[in-house]
């Protein structure tokens, strides 16, 4: 996806390595929405949204899959937590499979907030 601009055509002769932001990606014969694309537009969706509490989100990120039923159709869904769109997952009946990029979170993400709270405000 790229913001509409006629001058983009003028840049076609350059050694372009990347343009805009990926919104969709081919996975086999299917188009999968990217997590970064959903973070921009997912707030406008009104169905196939799975809202997870923090601990379930953490389980999904760390284990790549959680076993649970959700009220949505099988296929790619939007994962949200505390009203914030996180990214894309694949829902099959009884299973939610993470489609987040591997390097999206650091191993310390979930513990870090707890440590800050323990340290207290200066």
């Amino acid at each position: 996806m790229f913001s509409k601009d006629d001058r983009l055509r003028d840049l076609a002769s350059l050694q372009v390595k990347s343009v805009g932001m990926p919104l969709l990606r081919w996975v086999g014969t299917h188009l999968k929405p990217t997590s970064v694309g959903l973070q921009l537009f997912g707030a406008h969706a009104d169905k196939n949204i799975v809202s997870l509490p923090t601990d379930q989100l953490r389980d999904l990120v760390e284990s790549k899959e959680i076993k649970s039923e959700f009220n949505c159709s099988p296929g790619y869904v939007i994962v949200a937590s505390k009203s914030v769109v996180i990214g894309c997952a694949l829902y099959l009946p009884g299973r939610l499979i993470s489609q987040f990029p591997g390097n999206m979170f650091t191993p310390q993400t979930w513990e870090y907030a707890l440590q800050i709270r323990k340290m207290g405000k200066p």
Partner: protein
Amino acid sequence: MNFCRETTKMAVPPGNRRVLVPRRAWMVRRQGPTPEDARKDGHIVRARCAPLSPASGFPVSWSQQVIHEISGLEILPEVSLGSEIPSPARIFPMPNLTPAEYFAPFSQIIPNFAAFCSKLSASLPVHLRMNTLKAPVRETRLRLERQGIALVKEDPLKLVYRAKNLSHPGHLLEFSLGHLHSQALSSVLAAIVLEPQPGDAVLDLCASPGSKTSLMAQLMQNKGIIVANDRNPDRLIPLRANLKRLGVTNTVITRYPGQHFPKRFLFDRVLVDVPCSAEGTLRAGPSGTLRQSTWASQKLTRLQRDLLLMAFDLLKVGGTLVYSTCTYSPDENESPLDFLLESRPAEIQPIAMDLPHSPGLQQWNETSYDPSIKYCWRIYPHQIDTVGFFMARVVKGS
């Protein structure tokens, strides 16, 4: 802070020694003496490890010396809240040189030199830029404050906050989601001074890792077009990753040596944040690359001059250019600009911002500069608590 832990024994040729780098980040100059506590069991190796950036929590870069010399070392990043920064004598690449000794050549041009040296002993503050492309400032701020992070507003644009009890913003969920970005305050100022407008065509000639590029996209509200260029293919990786994470949709990434960028398209605004000796980053520990040899300095100056000239030639008439470095050396700051003024129809304009700074120098080492150089900004850490910086705003005449 990161540390390197030796996981495999290496065959040690006679005359070489090996070191176990302890849980602190420092640079051990290859030919210099090794600190005592780096010795273990009589074995030391000369190691040069770039630390994790205290701001982002991600590795900044790895010295070629580490790759070639210490294969088999396992590099483990660590969350270490409230970590102690090594003493000043250790964080400089030339051991046993205090800040006053190292910057003695600049003692006449840096105002209140004693305060400057004293400031270098303090750790660099963590500044967070709120990314309005992904979330409103207020919402991100509230989420951080609910986590117990103390925020202090820093700049006039209300986008940048200083986090008082945060050492690794890269571990925040909000960082992963692109709601904020860790960026030095001086780096933010360079993009703000350029004043990119929605609909402009902007070039960032030395763009990686994309902090200023993404800020410009934010100021442009993702409208118009930004060409983000960097010559090093390895540096395109963090550039692309940061732009994706921060929700930038109006940027095209190219890979050219900046001084050879094709002149097929002219831009409304150009930002040229040149590679430099990075003396302004010394306070943060050894995260900058310091050119120590005379040959290296001369090579940089020539490169900086070539980059500046190319950046200027890529401007439309009436267009605006910002030249910036994170160093104090007049050879890398005022000298290239003086050359530009002599060889091109360029005009340095005053920067209209109300922040403490020093003006550009009028003279250095018996060389006098154009009078308009005084409109440049020199930012020292004891004036604004951030990375030392230099910037100039240039307009192209007909």
